[in-house]
């Protein structure tokens, strides 16, 4: 049974996340953990907006915070976000990975260690190569992997990097990802 969702995206990511989250219904209860590359910019106003437009509590992940249902967590700008084996978060100012901090690979890999086959990993639009290796790790640990269709994604490099590296479970247009996620979360 799926216990958590991890999402990575960069260029075009704000719009993509807004689309995806607003399609998820009130009944959707899994924790969603997101790395959005946004440079040094503040994400507070974006989170406030999402809080109003979705059924979930949307917040920045805090160090040592326990992961809860019905909550959407974002990595704080300029920190790596890691999942610990007691289902809590830790932050790190470690060097950049794939030119990125937060790095999607770091979130994906540490989430896979903890959630193993009970995780869905999603890689959306983006213009660099972060996240592909991490997504493959999720797959190797038995988790489900979804990649946004590079043909229709706002920026294709990031999803393409994943589809070139391995065969994800699903390659879908953005509009169809929420439905797939619902379906996966209802399977047991």
């Amino acid at each position: 049974m799926i216990k958590a969702v991890a999402i990575g995206t960069s260029y075009g990511g704000m719009e993509a996340i807004r689309t995806l989250l607003s399609k998820l219904p009130d009944s959707f209860h899994l924790p969603v953990i997101i790395v959005l590359h946004i440079g040094n910019n503040n994400i507070t106003s974006f989170l406030t907006q999402l809080n109003k437009k979705t059924y979930f509590t949307v917040k920045e992940a805090e160090d040592k915070e326990t992961i809860r249902e019905k909550t959407v967590y974002f990595a704080p700008p300029n920190y790596h976000l890691q999942v610990e084996d007691d289902y809590s978060f830790s932050l790190s100012t470690d060097k950049k990975i794939n030119y990125s901090r937060p790095s999607i690979d770091v979130l994906f890999e540490t989430s896979a260690w903890t959630f193993k086959e009970r995780l869905v990993g999603i890689l959306l639009t983006g213009s660099n190569y972060d996240g592909a290796r991490g997504l493959l790790t999720i797959k190797k640990y038995g988790g489900k992997t979804i990649v946004e269709n590079p043909e229709t994604a706002f920026a294709q490099s990031m999803p393409s990097a994943a589809t070139e590296l391995f065969e994800p479970d699903y390659v879908l247009d953005l509009e169809n990802i929420a439905d797939k996620l619902l379906e996966l979360s209802n399977e047991s």
Binding site: Q82, T93, K95, I97, W113, K140, Y141
Partner: protein, 291 residues
């Protein structure tokens, strides 16, 4: 700030290996503690595993057990391992808003003290200590302040003592300094030479740099202010509580504690023992609880 290797990447661990790795990791940390006295047993596991897997990959080792063998029998290799585990990324006036809040809310209180003692724990290469010294100087407090700047890592302390940094960083630091409410020019505080800058000895006159391990060493002075930014995030909950206990014991009545802007007392046992002076900037004051 040590330069970043741009092509850094993760080195994934296979699921077959993962569970055994967790056992090996515990054994390794125990071995390191017994042999060298460094206690990483309550550091963030995710951080340790990521760093150790990078090392395995670079050194062409298959398992953590092999790594442990090398660490136990080769002291030089242990030094390398220590370096692997340490994160020393820092900058001057990192989070300028924090320094602005510090000036506004802490400095005025410090001004009422005849003599000020500061403990700067986890100071890394020292950029943050010089930032603090500059603020105290501009507020005419530096002359009556004693700063103890400590870190577990001796080689970063060497850099900190010298106060020599790369000129390349100064543009960013100058900007941070201005945003932090700097009253002059950052360049007033250093001299440049061949791509490096040297910070004034007048800033470091009252700073003692010393090696101190927050996990295994105890209280060494009573202080009015503790800076410990971006260190606690590498510790698990248990260790965070232990170190906060050490800080609480080291602070004078109503002493100040400054944490990193993404650290807080929220998930610790000390939330009710401190009062937030600036919640967002993670500036706290120890509550005075009469015996």
């Amino acid at each position: 700030m040590p330069s970043e290797t741009k092509n850094d990447r993760i080195f994934p661990v296979s699921p077959e290996k993962n569970d055994t790795q967790n056992i090996e990791l515990d054994l390794l940390l125990q071995a390191v503690f017994l042999k060298y006295g460094y206690d990483f047993r309550n550091y963030s596991k995710a951080h340790l595993k990521r760093r150790i897997n990078q090392r395995l990959n670079i050194s062409n080792l298959e398992t953590i057990s092999e790594l442990q063998n090398k660490i136990l029998w080769d002291k030089e290799f242990f030094r390398l391992f220590l370096k692997d585990l340490s994160i020393n990324v820092t900058e001057m006036f990192r989070d300028p808003d924090f320094y602005a809040a510090f000036r506004e809310k802490v400095v005025s209180v410090l001004k009422t003290y005849a003599h000020i003692k500061v403990w700067h724990a986890g100071c890394a290469t020292g950029e943050e200590v010089y930032s603090l010294a500059i603020i105290l100087k501009e507020e005419n407090l530096l002359a009556r302040t004693q700063i103890y700047a400590t870190d577990i890592n001796k080689s970063v302390l060497e850099t900190a003592k010298q106060g020599i940094y790369s000129k390349k960083e100064m543009e960013l630091y100058e900007r941070n300094y201005k945003e932090a409410g700097g009253k002059g020019e950052l360049s007033n505080y250093y001299t440049s030479k061949y791509g490096s800058v040297l910070f004034d000895k007048s800033l470091s006159k009252n700073i003692v740099f010393a090696d101190h391990n927050l996990v295994t060493d105890g209280v060494f002075a009573e202080v009015h202010l503790i800076f410990c930014r971006n260190v606690l995030i590498y510790f698990d909950k248990l260790l965070q509580n232990k170190v906060l206990g050490l800080f609480s014991d080291s602070l004078a009545k109503r002493g100040f504690l400054c944490l990193g802007t993404k650290e807080s007392l929220k998930f610790t046992d000390y939330e009710n023992k401190f009062q937030a002076v600036d919640k967002k900037m993670r500036i706290y004051k120890k509550l005075y609880i009469p015996k």
